[in-house]
Symmetry: C2
Subunit: 202 residues, 2 copies
């Protein structure tokens, strides 16, 4: 095809879940089949890039000062679920199981990759704790080494915060078998987590 076509195909191929063949299909769609959708897509991309920013309180996507969750009076502002990235928050919201608010760290501690506390959205969370705004902290971070390190760091920091930090109840989300998944198919780490996280059943 033409150089500009191939450049577009390359740009599309860098998107998650889009391979070489789908990029070709999308480029043909936008240039040949439905050329009217190309300016629509460009407008949507540019509008989102211009308008969407980080929530000043929690780091979630927002259009105003606060995101929809932080601005929602029906959400329990005293319960804060700490997640690594915005997609984690989206998944949590999709579950419909959570009525508190969030804090997006935009990463996790990773000394070998040079990611320290200052690279995370941690200062804002400490601010929320110092303000006495937070009653409960739910750590929804992975149980790999970096997730563990980040959880450890947060609890340490809470202890050093004095009264405000000590008053916060901290929990971590449960690990174990995914719903619908049998023991047969679970990996060793998941089974270990499931055993450790067993509950009284009587």
């Amino acid at each position: 095809m033409t150089p500009a076509f191939e450049k577009l195909q390359q740009a599309l191929k860098r998107l998650p879940g889009v391979g070489y063949r789908s990029a070709e299909r999308i480029a043909l769609h936008l240039l040949v089949e439905k050329p009217g959708r190309l300016p629509e897509l460009v407008a949507a991309l540019e509008e989102a890039a211009r308008i969407v920013r980080r929530c000043a309180r929690c780091g979630n996507l927002a259009e105003g000062e606060l995101c929809a969750v932080c601005a929602d009076a029906r959400r329990d502002q005293g319960v804060v679920c700490v997640v690594e990235h915005t997609p984690d928050l989206v998944a949590m919201e999709r579950s419909g199981a959570y009525k508190g608010v969030y804090h997006v760290l935009h990463g996790r501690l990773s000394p070998i990759n040079g990611v320290g506390p200052d690279d995370l959205n941690w200062g804002a969370l400490r601010g929320r704790i110092e303000d006495g705004e937070v009653r409960e902290l739910i750590l929804a971070l992975g149980n790999d080494v970096e997730g563990e390190a980040t959880c450890h760091f947060i609890t340490q920091q809470l202890a050093s915060e004095g009264t405000a930090g000590a008053a916060v109840k901290v929990s971590r989300i449960g690990f174990g078998l995914p719903s619908g998944g049998g023991v047969l198919y679970a990996d060793a780490v998941t089974l270990r987590s499931a055993l450790e996280g067993r509950r009284d059943y009587s």
Copy 2:
């Protein structure tokens, strides 16, 4: 999420092969994970929309007057493969089996959908035939009702072209079992085509 985010997600969801969940993933990717790729993508889209046009001769994607195939002196300009859409041409090129040139009709005859000869890129093909440029025509159109009707129309038109039309050798691509597919898995129409298209084997 935010209204601008959802608008972007909707625009992405209209792309072929992109569902609700992938659109969300791509939008998060472009707004949160790799915001630097968003202007790159917008630039590639805008550049392609500005530069890419139809080849004046065959209707393929082009950046100049002619597309890369028509401008290639090593291609046999006397053999023209007639395809319905640009993706068909791309698939044909991918096969590496074809050394002639193309003509993209940008559709096929469909009286019930109100698509007549004037809605297709047919005038340009007739012009090429009248110019005596075409020695052989390979009809690479589907074998459904509309594909049949389009092939029938083209051969009829050739007959009425007089000497230039009558001199053109016309063939139609073979139909039958796809490579790697067994008789067991083939549908009835494919098997009928395969029987009709059988070749002497001795």
